[in-house]
């Protein structure tokens, strides 16, 4: 994997996250709406920066899909939260891969972004994980 490929995977991940947050954000309760919108903004901003890093690495940024098939229907607040937790946790691995391929400030941003996504996933109800060994633990919340 090259740096351009790693960042392109992040762009695709963020595109999917923007879609997922758009769908799920409309279905969470009022108390979680602001958090979902903040997450949507964060994913859009990260998509932009990652796209610029693809270009900087000599690649061509991927374009977003029109729509994505979701792994489960978002029909409730619980499924909306689960979808946002899912896409956030999936991005952790993509940013870790980017950290491996990047250096300096770009690597720092990748590592911070991995942490930001993992943290937000838990606020949506995901369980804390020891990512390197992949062992999920019982929810402490």
């Amino acid at each position: 994997m090259t740096a351009a490929e790693a960042w392109a995977a992040v762009v695709e991940g963020e595109d999917a996250a923007v879609f997922a947050y758009s769908v799920a954000g409309a279905r969470v309760g009022a108390s979680a709406r602001a958090k979902a919108l903040n997450g949507l903004d964060a994913h859009r901003a990260h998509r932009g920066r990652a796209s610029a890093l693809v270009t900087a690495a000599g690649g061509t940024p991927p374009t977003p899909a029109v729509a994505y098939d979701l792994p489960f229907e978002v029909t409730s607040r619980a499924t909306a939260r689960a979808l946002m937790a899912l896409v956030d946790n999936r991005l952790v691995g993509l940013y870790a891969d980017a950290a491996e391929q990047a250096s300096g400030d770009d690597r720092r941003w990748a590592a911070r972004s991995a942490a930001e996504n993992a943290t937000r996933a838990v606020t949506w109800g995901a369980e804390p994980q020891a990512f390197p060994t992949g062992e999920a633990v019982g929810s402490a919340s």
């Binding site: 098939d69 691995g93 720092r108 991995a114 606020t123 990512f131």
Partner: protein, 174 residues
């Protein structure tokens, strides 16, 4: 928002793909973000470490990070010993730090806790939150410093894990 124009459908995953895969509908599935390889592996609760995740690490960055992970283990052990009611919730988090330390340096040992026991469970949780946030920043720094790319990946994952502990600990307060 473009998403509002098309309601996502629930589709069973194609054969060989995880049913959890979130795939783009029009072509390009091979590069879709939620494809079965990178994305799912990275977030699945049963994810395997990447081939580089367990590679021998350069001594300085990895062993320093392992020592700091073990200091967190010692802090969790002390809090659990002082407030046994928190054991069920905290032990899994402490175990994740043990796993982090072991993935960085198998010879690292847990030091005796230098911290004095907090006066209350709430203070103990606040101390753990502060320690996790500090550790997350330290792991981001060590990720940047890592000479070996695989070590950088491992340290990014560990930073993410520590970030994920913070809201879990916050939920235990009150």
């Amino acid at each position: 928002m473009p998403a509002e124009r098309s309601l996502p459908a629930l589709t069973p995953g194609p054969a060989g793909r995880s049913p959890l895969a979130l795939t783009r509908r029009q072509g390009l599935t091979a590069v879709a973000l939620l494809g079965p390889v990178g994305f799912l592996t990275a977030c699945s609760s049963s994810a395997e470490p990447g081939p580089t995740a367990t590679a021998p690490a350069p001594a300085t960055v990895a062993s320093a990070a392992a020592a700091q992970e073990n200091e967190l283990v010692a802090l969790y052990d002390m809090v659990i010993a002082t407030f046994p009611a928190l054991a069920a919730a905290l032990a899994p988090l402490g175990d994740q730090h043990r796993a982090h330390a072991a993935s960085l340096d198998t010879t690292a040992a847990v030091p005796p806790s230098a911290a004095s026991a907090p006066a209350s469970a709430d203070e103990a949780l606040a101390a753990l939150i502060a320690a996790e946030r500090r550790a997350m920043r330290q792991r981001v720094d060590s990720c940047v410093e890592a000479d070996e790319p695989g070590l950088a990946r491992t340290l990014a994952f560990i930073a993410a894990s520590e970030g994920s502990h913070v809201p879990a600990l916050r939920a235990l307060r009150s």
